[in-house]
Protein backbone atom coordinates (compact mmCIF):
# COMPACT_ATOMS: atom_id res chain seq x y z
CA UNK A 1 0.00 0.00 0.00
CA UNK A 2 2.89 2.35 0.67
CA UNK A 3 3.95 1.86 -2.93
CA UNK A 4 0.47 2.88 -4.04
CA UNK A 5 0.66 6.05 -2.00
CA UNK A 6 4.03 6.84 -3.55
CA UNK A 7 2.61 6.38 -7.03
CA UNK A 8 -0.22 8.81 -6.28
CA UNK A 9 2.29 11.28 -4.92
CA UNK A 10 4.25 11.17 -8.13
CA UNK A 11 1.15 11.74 -10.21
CA UNK A 12 0.17 14.74 -8.12
CA UNK A 13 3.65 16.13 -8.67
CA UNK A 14 2.85 16.23 -12.38
CA UNK A 15 0.58 19.16 -11.61
CA UNK A 16 3.69 21.25 -11.14
CA UNK A 17 3.96 21.28 -14.90
CA UNK A 18 0.71 23.15 -15.56
CA UNK A 19 0.89 26.89 -15.55
CA UNK A 20 -1.63 28.68 -13.43
CA UNK A 21 -4.31 30.70 -15.21
CA UNK A 22 -4.12 33.39 -12.54
CA UNK A 23 -2.09 35.78 -14.64
CA UNK A 24 -3.92 39.06 -14.10
CA UNK A 25 -3.95 41.20 -11.00
CA UNK A 26 -7.68 41.35 -10.44
CA UNK A 27 -7.43 44.41 -8.25
CA UNK A 28 -6.94 46.42 -11.41
CA UNK A 29 -8.51 44.51 -14.29
CA UNK A 30 -11.17 41.80 -14.34
CA UNK A 31 -10.47 38.32 -15.65
CA UNK A 32 -13.78 38.03 -17.48
CA UNK A 33 -16.11 40.94 -18.16
CA UNK A 34 -18.79 40.04 -20.74
CA UNK A 35 -21.28 42.50 -22.14
CA UNK A 36 -24.19 41.08 -20.15
CA UNK A 37 -22.37 41.34 -16.82
CA UNK A 38 -24.70 42.83 -14.21
CA UNK A 39 -22.64 45.59 -12.63
CA UNK A 40 -23.30 49.06 -11.34
CA UNK A 41 -26.45 50.72 -12.58
CA UNK A 42 -26.39 53.56 -15.12
CA UNK A 43 -29.54 55.64 -14.95
CA UNK A 44 -30.39 57.87 -17.90
CA UNK A 45 -32.78 60.54 -16.70
CA UNK A 46 -33.45 61.90 -20.18
CA UNK A 47 -34.83 58.59 -21.50
CA UNK A 48 -36.76 57.66 -18.38
CA UNK A 49 -40.51 58.11 -18.77
CA UNK A 50 -41.36 57.81 -15.08
CA UNK A 51 -43.58 54.70 -15.33
CA UNK A 52 -42.55 53.25 -11.92
CA UNK A 53 -42.23 49.66 -13.30
CA UNK A 54 -38.72 49.15 -11.97
CA UNK A 55 -39.82 50.10 -8.46
CA UNK A 56 -42.78 47.73 -8.58
CA UNK A 57 -40.84 44.70 -9.74
CA UNK A 58 -37.74 45.09 -7.56
CA UNK A 59 -37.86 42.04 -5.25
CA UNK A 60 -35.96 43.66 -2.39
CA UNK A 61 -37.22 47.27 -2.62
CA UNK A 62 -33.79 48.69 -3.44
CA UNK A 63 -35.17 51.39 -5.75
CA UNK A 64 -36.49 54.70 -4.45
CA UNK A 65 -38.10 57.18 -6.79
CA UNK A 66 -36.83 60.74 -6.68
CA UNK A 67 -39.48 63.38 -7.36
CA UNK A 68 -38.88 66.08 -9.91
CA UNK A 69 -40.86 69.33 -10.10
CA UNK A 70 -42.17 68.48 -13.56
CA UNK A 71 -45.64 67.51 -14.67
CA UNK A 72 -44.96 64.47 -16.82
CA UNK A 73 -42.01 62.10 -16.23
CA UNK A 74 -41.82 63.40 -12.70
CA UNK A 75 -39.94 60.51 -11.06
CA UNK A 76 -36.54 58.93 -11.72
CA UNK A 77 -35.14 55.85 -9.94
CA UNK A 78 -32.28 55.84 -7.46
CA UNK A 79 -30.72 52.58 -6.32
CA UNK A 80 -29.39 51.59 -2.89
CA UNK A 81 -26.38 49.39 -3.61
CA UNK A 82 -26.26 47.82 -0.18
CA UNK A 83 -29.76 46.34 -0.65
CA UNK A 84 -29.67 45.55 -4.36
CA UNK A 85 -29.13 41.90 -5.28
CA UNK A 86 -28.21 42.65 -8.93
CA UNK A 87 -30.89 40.40 -10.38
CA UNK A 88 -31.45 42.65 -13.39
CA UNK A 89 -35.26 42.50 -13.34
CA UNK A 90 -35.50 46.31 -13.33
CA UNK A 91 -33.59 46.39 -16.59
CA UNK A 92 -35.78 43.65 -18.09
CA UNK A 93 -39.02 45.45 -17.35
CA UNK A 94 -37.99 48.98 -18.38
CA UNK A 95 -40.07 49.87 -21.48
CA UNK A 96 -37.97 52.58 -23.11
CA UNK A 97 -36.39 52.16 -26.54
CA UNK A 98 -33.77 51.92 -28.00
CA UNK A 99 -31.69 52.16 -24.83
CA UNK A 100 -33.10 51.30 -21.41
CA UNK A 101 -33.27 54.07 -18.86
CA UNK A 102 -31.90 51.84 -16.05
CA UNK A 103 -29.16 49.44 -17.12
CA UNK A 104 -26.93 46.98 -15.30
CA UNK A 105 -25.44 45.16 -18.28
CA UNK A 106 -21.81 45.94 -18.82
CA UNK A 107 -21.65 47.98 -15.65
CA UNK A 108 -18.48 48.18 -13.62
CA UNK A 109 -17.72 45.62 -10.98
CA UNK A 110 -15.52 47.60 -8.60
CA UNK A 111 -18.28 49.72 -7.16
CA UNK A 112 -17.32 50.10 -3.54
CA UNK A 113 -13.66 49.18 -3.41
CA UNK A 114 -10.89 51.44 -2.27
CA UNK A 115 -10.87 54.19 0.30
CA UNK A 116 -13.02 54.82 3.30
CA UNK A 117 -16.77 55.21 3.29
CA UNK A 118 -17.80 57.72 5.88
CA UNK A 119 -21.56 57.59 5.46
CA UNK A 120 -24.35 55.80 3.68
CA UNK A 121 -24.51 58.19 0.73
CA UNK A 122 -21.55 56.35 -0.85
CA UNK A 123 -23.76 53.31 -1.23
CA UNK A 124 -26.40 54.94 -3.44
CA UNK A 125 -26.48 55.35 -7.21
CA UNK A 126 -27.82 58.89 -7.40
CA UNK A 127 -29.02 60.78 -10.41
CA UNK A 128 -27.47 64.21 -10.68
CA UNK A 129 -29.83 66.28 -12.76
CA UNK A 130 -28.42 69.71 -13.60
CA UNK A 131 -30.69 72.64 -12.93
CA UNK A 132 -30.37 73.70 -16.58
CA UNK A 133 -32.14 70.51 -17.67
CA UNK A 134 -34.99 71.07 -15.24
CA UNK A 135 -35.27 74.67 -16.32
CA UNK A 136 -35.37 73.74 -19.97
CA UNK A 137 -38.03 71.09 -19.31
CA UNK A 138 -40.08 73.55 -17.26
CA UNK A 139 -39.84 76.05 -20.10
CA UNK A 140 -41.00 73.42 -22.53
CA UNK A 141 -43.93 72.56 -20.35
CA UNK A 142 -44.74 76.20 -19.87
CA UNK A 143 -44.60 76.74 -23.60
CA UNK A 144 -46.78 73.72 -24.18
CA UNK A 145 -49.26 74.91 -21.61
CA UNK A 146 -49.40 78.37 -23.07
CA UNK A 147 -49.86 76.90 -26.51
CA UNK A 148 -52.68 74.75 -25.26
CA UNK A 149 -54.33 77.73 -23.60
CA UNK A 150 -54.10 79.78 -26.76
CA UNK A 151 -55.49 76.90 -28.80
CA UNK A 152 -58.30 76.49 -26.31
CA UNK A 153 -59.02 80.21 -26.39
CA UNK A 154 -59.03 80.18 -30.16
CA UNK A 155 -61.42 77.27 -30.24
CA UNK A 156 -63.65 78.97 -27.71
CA UNK A 157 -63.61 82.16 -29.74
CA UNK A 158 -64.48 80.22 -32.91
CA UNK A 159 -67.26 78.41 -31.12
CA UNK A 160 -68.63 81.76 -29.84
CA UNK A 161 -68.39 83.29 -33.30
CA UNK A 162 -70.27 80.33 -34.72
CA UNK A 163 -72.93 80.64 -32.07
CA UNK A 164 -73.30 84.34 -32.78
CA UNK A 165 -73.56 83.56 -36.48
CA UNK A 166 -76.25 80.97 -35.82
CA UNK A 167 -78.08 83.31 -33.47
CA UNK A 168 -78.06 85.94 -36.21
CA UNK A 169 -79.43 83.50 -38.76
CA UNK A 170 -82.31 82.33 -36.63
CA UNK A 171 -83.85 85.77 -36.15
CA UNK A 172 -83.48 86.19 -39.93
CA UNK A 173 -85.47 83.02 -40.44
CA UNK A 174 -87.98 84.11 -37.86
CA UNK A 175 -88.27 87.44 -39.56
CA UNK A 176 -89.00 85.77 -42.83
Amino acid sequence: MILDILKKTLRVAKALKTSSPATKDVRFEPMHHPSRYRGEHTIDYETCIGCDSCNKICPVHAITMKHLPLKKQNIVPEVNLSVCIFCGLCEDVCPTKPQKAIMLSGGRYDMLSGGWHKDQSDFWVNVDIPQSYIDSRLEEEEAARVKKELAAKKKKAEAEAKKVAEAKEVPKEVEE
Binding site: I2, I5, K8, T9, R11, V12, A13, A15, L16, T18, S20, A22
Partner: protein
Protein backbone atom coordinates in the same frame (compact mmCIF):
# COMPACT_ATOMS: atom_id res chain seq x y z
CA UNK B 1 31.83 34.64 26.11
CA UNK B 2 31.09 36.51 22.93
CA UNK B 3 31.29 33.30 20.98
CA UNK B 4 28.66 31.74 23.23
CA UNK B 5 26.41 34.76 22.75
CA UNK B 6 26.92 34.58 18.98
CA UNK B 7 26.01 30.92 18.97
CA UNK B 8 22.99 31.40 21.19
CA UNK B 9 21.47 34.32 19.37
CA UNK B 10 22.75 34.35 15.80
CA UNK B 11 23.88 30.97 14.52
CA UNK B 12 22.56 28.36 15.14
CA UNK B 13 20.40 30.11 17.72
CA UNK B 14 17.49 32.49 17.75
CA UNK B 15 18.05 34.50 14.56
CA UNK B 16 18.80 31.40 12.52
CA UNK B 17 15.63 29.72 13.71
CA UNK B 18 13.56 32.81 12.94
CA UNK B 19 14.98 33.20 9.44
CA UNK B 20 14.45 29.49 8.84
CA UNK B 21 10.82 29.78 10.02
CA UNK B 22 9.98 32.71 7.78
CA UNK B 23 11.74 31.22 4.78
CA UNK B 24 10.38 27.68 5.12
CA UNK B 25 6.84 28.90 5.69
CA UNK B 26 6.99 30.92 2.45
CA UNK B 27 8.46 27.98 0.58
CA UNK B 28 5.76 25.64 1.86
CA UNK B 29 3.01 28.00 0.74
CA UNK B 30 4.40 28.55 -2.74
CA UNK B 31 5.13 24.90 -3.28
CA UNK B 32 1.69 23.77 -2.10
CA UNK B 33 0.15 26.36 -4.37
CA UNK B 34 2.02 25.05 -7.37
CA UNK B 35 0.82 21.54 -6.60
CA UNK B 36 -2.73 22.87 -6.30
CA UNK B 37 -2.53 24.68 -9.64
CA UNK B 38 -2.72 28.06 -7.92
CA UNK B 39 -0.30 30.89 -7.32
CA UNK B 40 0.14 31.38 -3.59
CA UNK B 41 1.29 34.64 -2.02
CA UNK B 42 2.22 37.11 -4.74
CA UNK B 43 1.38 40.66 -3.71
CA UNK B 44 3.89 41.58 -1.02
CA UNK B 45 7.40 41.66 -2.37
CA UNK B 46 8.69 39.78 -5.35
CA UNK B 47 6.79 36.51 -5.47
CA UNK B 48 5.25 37.16 -2.09
CA UNK B 49 8.50 36.80 -0.18
CA UNK B 50 7.59 39.37 2.44
CA UNK B 51 4.24 37.72 3.13
CA UNK B 52 5.24 35.42 5.95
CA UNK B 53 7.35 38.12 7.54
CA UNK B 54 4.27 40.34 7.62
CA UNK B 55 2.08 37.50 8.90
CA UNK B 56 4.36 36.53 11.72
CA UNK B 57 4.95 40.10 12.82
CA UNK B 58 1.21 40.71 12.70
CA UNK B 59 0.81 37.90 15.20
CA UNK B 60 3.20 39.64 17.54
CA UNK B 61 1.06 42.75 17.62
CA UNK B 62 -2.24 40.95 18.25
CA UNK B 63 -3.79 40.56 21.65
CA UNK B 64 -2.92 37.37 23.50
CA UNK B 65 -6.25 36.36 24.96
CA UNK B 66 -6.11 34.15 28.04
CA UNK B 67 -9.53 32.53 28.53
CA UNK B 68 -11.22 32.12 31.87
CA UNK B 69 -10.49 29.02 33.89
CA UNK B 70 -7.20 27.94 32.34
CA UNK B 71 -4.33 26.72 34.40
CA UNK B 72 -2.10 29.84 34.46
CA UNK B 73 1.23 28.03 34.63
CA UNK B 74 0.49 25.57 31.89
CA UNK B 75 -1.23 27.96 29.52
CA UNK B 76 1.25 30.81 29.44
CA UNK B 77 4.62 29.22 30.16
CA UNK B 78 4.35 26.10 28.00
CA UNK B 79 4.76 27.89 24.65
CA UNK B 80 8.03 29.44 25.84
CA UNK B 81 9.32 26.09 27.07
CA UNK B 82 8.28 24.48 23.82
CA UNK B 83 10.36 26.94 21.80
CA UNK B 84 13.42 26.51 23.99
CA UNK B 85 13.26 22.73 23.87
CA UNK B 86 12.76 22.76 20.15
CA UNK B 87 15.85 24.91 19.59
CA UNK B 88 18.11 22.79 21.79
CA UNK B 89 18.81 19.88 19.38
CA UNK B 90 20.41 22.23 16.86
CA UNK B 91 23.26 22.72 19.30
CA UNK B 92 24.39 19.14 18.75
CA UNK B 93 24.33 19.09 14.96
CA UNK B 94 27.56 19.57 13.00
CA UNK B 95 26.52 22.34 10.63
CA UNK B 96 29.81 22.74 8.82
CA UNK B 97 33.16 21.05 8.95
CA UNK B 98 34.33 21.71 12.51
CA UNK B 99 31.43 23.97 13.47
CA UNK B 100 29.44 22.35 16.21
CA UNK B 101 28.34 23.95 19.45
CA UNK B 102 28.48 20.94 21.73
CA UNK B 103 30.64 18.09 20.55
CA UNK B 104 29.46 15.44 22.95
CA UNK B 105 29.99 11.71 22.91
CA UNK B 106 26.29 11.10 23.31
CA UNK B 107 25.02 13.26 20.49
CA UNK B 108 22.55 10.78 19.05
CA UNK B 109 20.99 10.15 22.43
CA UNK B 110 20.66 13.86 23.16
CA UNK B 111 19.09 14.48 19.76
CA UNK B 112 16.54 11.73 20.11
CA UNK B 113 15.53 12.62 23.65
CA UNK B 114 15.17 16.32 23.03
CA UNK B 115 13.09 15.74 19.92
CA UNK B 116 11.01 13.23 21.79
CA UNK B 117 10.14 15.43 24.73
CA UNK B 118 8.45 18.04 22.57
CA UNK B 119 5.05 16.32 22.12
CA UNK B 120 4.68 15.97 25.85
CA UNK B 121 5.01 19.73 26.26
CA UNK B 122 2.35 20.22 23.57
CA UNK B 123 0.04 17.82 25.38
CA UNK B 124 0.41 19.97 28.48
CA UNK B 125 -0.72 23.01 26.51
CA UNK B 126 -3.85 21.15 25.49
CA UNK B 127 -4.42 19.97 29.03
CA UNK B 128 -4.12 23.47 30.42
CA UNK B 129 -6.71 25.08 28.15
CA UNK B 130 -10.20 24.92 29.51
CA UNK B 131 -11.61 23.45 26.31
CA UNK B 132 -12.84 19.99 25.41
CA UNK B 133 -11.40 20.18 21.89
CA UNK B 134 -7.93 21.15 23.14
CA UNK B 135 -7.98 18.29 25.58
CA UNK B 136 -8.91 15.82 22.86
CA UNK B 137 -6.10 17.21 20.71
CA UNK B 138 -3.63 16.85 23.54
CA UNK B 139 -4.59 13.22 24.13
CA UNK B 140 -4.27 12.51 20.44
CA UNK B 141 -0.77 13.90 20.18
CA UNK B 142 0.35 11.95 23.21
CA UNK B 143 -1.02 8.71 21.76
CA UNK B 144 0.52 9.37 18.39
CA UNK B 145 3.96 10.34 19.60
CA UNK B 146 4.29 7.36 21.94
CA UNK B 147 3.60 5.00 19.05
CA UNK B 148 5.68 6.77 16.46
CA UNK B 149 8.61 7.50 18.72
CA UNK B 150 9.39 3.85 19.32
CA UNK B 151 10.17 3.21 15.68
CA UNK B 152 11.80 6.65 15.44
CA UNK B 153 14.28 5.83 18.17
CA UNK B 154 15.02 2.38 16.78
CA UNK B 155 15.66 3.82 13.34
CA UNK B 156 17.77 6.70 14.64
CA UNK B 157 19.98 4.31 16.59
CA UNK B 158 20.95 2.23 13.57
CA UNK B 159 23.74 4.55 12.32
CA UNK B 160 25.14 4.66 15.83
CA UNK B 161 25.19 0.86 15.81
CA UNK B 162 26.78 0.74 12.38
CA UNK B 163 29.64 3.09 13.24
CA UNK B 164 29.90 2.08 16.95
CA UNK B 165 29.85 5.64 18.13
CA UNK B 166 27.25 8.09 19.35
CA UNK B 167 29.32 11.14 18.48
CA UNK B 168 27.63 12.99 15.65
CA UNK B 169 30.80 14.45 14.12
CA UNK B 170 32.37 10.98 14.05
CA UNK B 171 29.28 9.57 12.32
CA UNK B 172 29.40 12.28 9.67
CA UNK B 173 33.12 11.72 9.05
CA UNK B 174 32.66 8.00 8.54
CA UNK B 175 29.61 8.13 6.31
CA UNK B 176 29.88 7.38 2.61
CA UNK B 177 27.74 6.28 -0.33
CA UNK B 178 28.02 2.67 0.69
CA UNK B 179 26.94 3.27 4.25
CA UNK B 180 23.93 5.18 2.87
CA UNK B 181 22.86 2.11 0.92
CA UNK B 182 23.21 -0.10 3.97
CA UNK B 183 21.21 2.31 6.07
CA UNK B 184 18.52 2.83 3.43
CA UNK B 185 15.78 0.77 5.14
CA UNK B 186 16.51 2.64 8.35
CA UNK B 187 16.17 5.92 6.48
CA UNK B 188 12.77 4.98 5.11
CA UNK B 189 11.51 3.99 8.55
CA UNK B 190 12.93 7.22 9.97
CA UNK B 191 11.09 9.21 7.29
CA UNK B 192 7.72 7.61 7.96
CA UNK B 193 8.13 8.00 11.73
CA UNK B 194 9.11 11.61 11.11
CA UNK B 195 5.76 12.19 9.43
CA UNK B 196 4.05 10.86 12.51
CA UNK B 197 6.14 12.87 14.94
CA UNK B 198 5.67 16.16 13.14
CA UNK B 199 1.92 15.64 12.56
CA UNK B 200 2.06 15.78 8.77
CA UNK B 201 -0.34 13.95 6.45
CA UNK B 202 -1.22 11.12 6.47
CA UNK B 203 -0.70 11.37 10.20
CA UNK B 204 -1.99 14.86 10.92
CA UNK B 205 -4.45 13.52 13.43
CA UNK B 206 -3.83 15.88 16.37
CA UNK B 207 -4.20 18.88 14.08
CA UNK B 208 -7.36 17.64 12.44
CA UNK B 209 -9.15 20.85 11.58
CA UNK B 210 -12.24 19.18 10.34
CA UNK B 211 -12.73 17.06 13.38
CA UNK B 212 -11.59 18.84 16.49
CA UNK B 213 -11.36 22.43 15.33
CA UNK B 214 -7.62 23.00 15.83
CA UNK B 215 -6.54 20.49 18.44
CA UNK B 216 -4.44 21.94 21.19
CA UNK B 217 -3.81 25.18 19.26
CA UNK B 218 -7.47 26.15 19.62
CA UNK B 219 -7.29 28.65 22.44
CA UNK B 220 -4.05 30.38 21.49
CA UNK B 221 -3.82 33.76 19.81
CA UNK B 222 -1.27 36.53 19.37
CA UNK B 223 2.20 36.10 20.85
CA UNK B 224 1.47 32.67 22.32
CA UNK B 225 0.43 31.39 18.92
CA UNK B 226 3.52 32.88 17.33
CA UNK B 227 5.71 31.07 19.83
CA UNK B 228 3.95 27.76 19.13
CA UNK B 229 4.45 28.22 15.39
CA UNK B 230 8.16 28.95 15.90
CA UNK B 231 8.36 25.82 18.05
CA UNK B 232 6.79 23.78 15.28
CA UNK B 233 9.23 25.03 12.64
CA UNK B 234 12.20 24.66 14.96
CA UNK B 235 11.16 21.05 15.42
CA UNK B 236 11.05 20.64 11.63
CA UNK B 237 14.59 21.97 11.47
CA UNK B 238 15.81 19.66 14.23
CA UNK B 239 14.27 16.56 12.66
CA UNK B 240 15.40 17.33 9.12
CA UNK B 241 18.90 18.16 10.29
CA UNK B 242 18.91 14.92 12.26
CA UNK B 243 17.97 12.96 9.15
CA UNK B 244 20.62 14.68 7.09
CA UNK B 245 23.30 14.15 9.74
CA UNK B 246 22.59 10.53 10.59
CA UNK B 247 21.84 9.12 7.16
CA UNK B 248 22.74 11.55 4.41
CA UNK B 249 26.17 12.69 5.53
CA UNK B 250 25.48 16.28 6.58
CA UNK B 251 27.68 18.76 4.79
CA UNK B 252 29.42 16.32 2.49
CA UNK B 253 28.82 17.12 -1.12
CA UNK B 254 30.14 16.52 -4.63
CA UNK B 255 33.63 17.90 -5.14
CA UNK B 256 33.57 20.07 -2.03
CA UNK B 257 32.00 20.19 1.45
CA UNK B 258 29.92 23.15 2.47
CA UNK B 259 26.78 24.25 4.32
CA UNK B 260 25.01 24.63 0.98
CA UNK B 261 24.69 20.86 0.57
CA UNK B 262 23.35 20.49 4.08
CA UNK B 263 20.68 23.00 3.24
CA UNK B 264 19.85 21.23 -0.02
CA UNK B 265 19.45 17.91 1.75
CA UNK B 266 17.08 19.39 4.30
CA UNK B 267 15.03 21.01 1.54
CA UNK B 268 14.92 17.73 -0.36
CA UNK B 269 13.28 16.00 2.56
CA UNK B 270 10.90 18.95 2.95
CA UNK B 271 9.88 18.75 -0.72
CA UNK B 272 9.08 15.06 -0.49
CA UNK B 273 7.09 15.67 2.68
CA UNK B 274 5.08 18.46 1.03
CA UNK B 275 4.25 16.41 -2.04
CA UNK B 276 2.97 13.61 0.13
CA UNK B 277 0.90 16.19 1.98
CA UNK B 278 -0.84 17.12 -1.24
CA UNK B 279 -1.60 13.56 -2.25
CA UNK B 280 -3.04 11.69 0.67
CA UNK B 281 -5.84 12.33 3.18
CA UNK B 282 -5.52 11.53 6.83
CA UNK B 283 -6.18 8.28 8.62
CA UNK B 284 -7.90 7.69 11.92
CA UNK B 285 -6.26 7.21 15.30
CA UNK B 286 -7.13 3.51 15.49
CA UNK B 287 -5.68 2.87 12.04
CA UNK B 288 -2.52 4.77 12.91
CA UNK B 289 -2.00 2.75 16.09
CA UNK B 290 -2.58 -0.42 14.15
CA UNK B 291 -0.04 0.57 11.50
CA UNK B 292 2.57 1.64 14.00
CA UNK B 293 2.56 -1.31 16.35
CA UNK B 294 1.84 -4.06 13.85
CA UNK B 295 4.12 -2.97 11.04
CA UNK B 296 6.55 -0.20 11.93
CA UNK B 297 8.03 -1.51 15.17
CA UNK B 298 8.66 -5.09 13.95
CA UNK B 299 10.24 -3.78 10.75
CA UNK B 300 12.44 -1.42 12.77
CA UNK B 301 13.62 -4.34 14.89
CA UNK B 302 14.39 -6.34 11.75
CA UNK B 303 16.29 -3.31 10.45
CA UNK B 304 18.50 -3.35 13.54
CA UNK B 305 19.28 -7.01 12.91
CA UNK B 306 20.19 -6.17 9.30
CA UNK B 307 22.49 -3.34 10.37
CA UNK B 308 24.30 -5.60 12.83
CA UNK B 309 24.65 -8.20 10.12
CA UNK B 310 26.04 -5.67 7.65
CA UNK B 311 28.41 -4.34 10.27
CA UNK B 312 29.85 -7.76 10.92
CA UNK B 313 30.40 -8.22 7.17
CA UNK B 314 31.73 -4.89 5.93
CA UNK B 315 32.39 -2.47 8.73
CA UNK B 316 34.67 -4.40 11.04
CA UNK B 317 37.04 -2.13 12.91
CA UNK B 318 35.04 0.99 12.41
Amino acid sequence: MSEALFQAFIFPGLLYVLVWTVGLFWFFRKFMAALHKRVGPSFNGKGGSYQTLFDLSKLLTKESITPDGVNPYLFSTMPLLAVIFAMLPSAFIPWMDGVVVVDSDYGVLALVILIGIEPFLLFLTGFGSNNKYSFLGGIRILTQSISMETSFILAALSPALLFSTMNLTAIVEQSSWFSFLVLLPGFIIYFIALLGLLEQPPFNIPDAEQEIVYGFYTEYSGTNYFLLQVAMFAEFMAVFAGAATLFLGAYKGIFFDSYFFFFMKMMGIAVVMMTMRAATPRITLAQMLNFSWQYMVPIALVNIAWVLFAKSLWFIGA
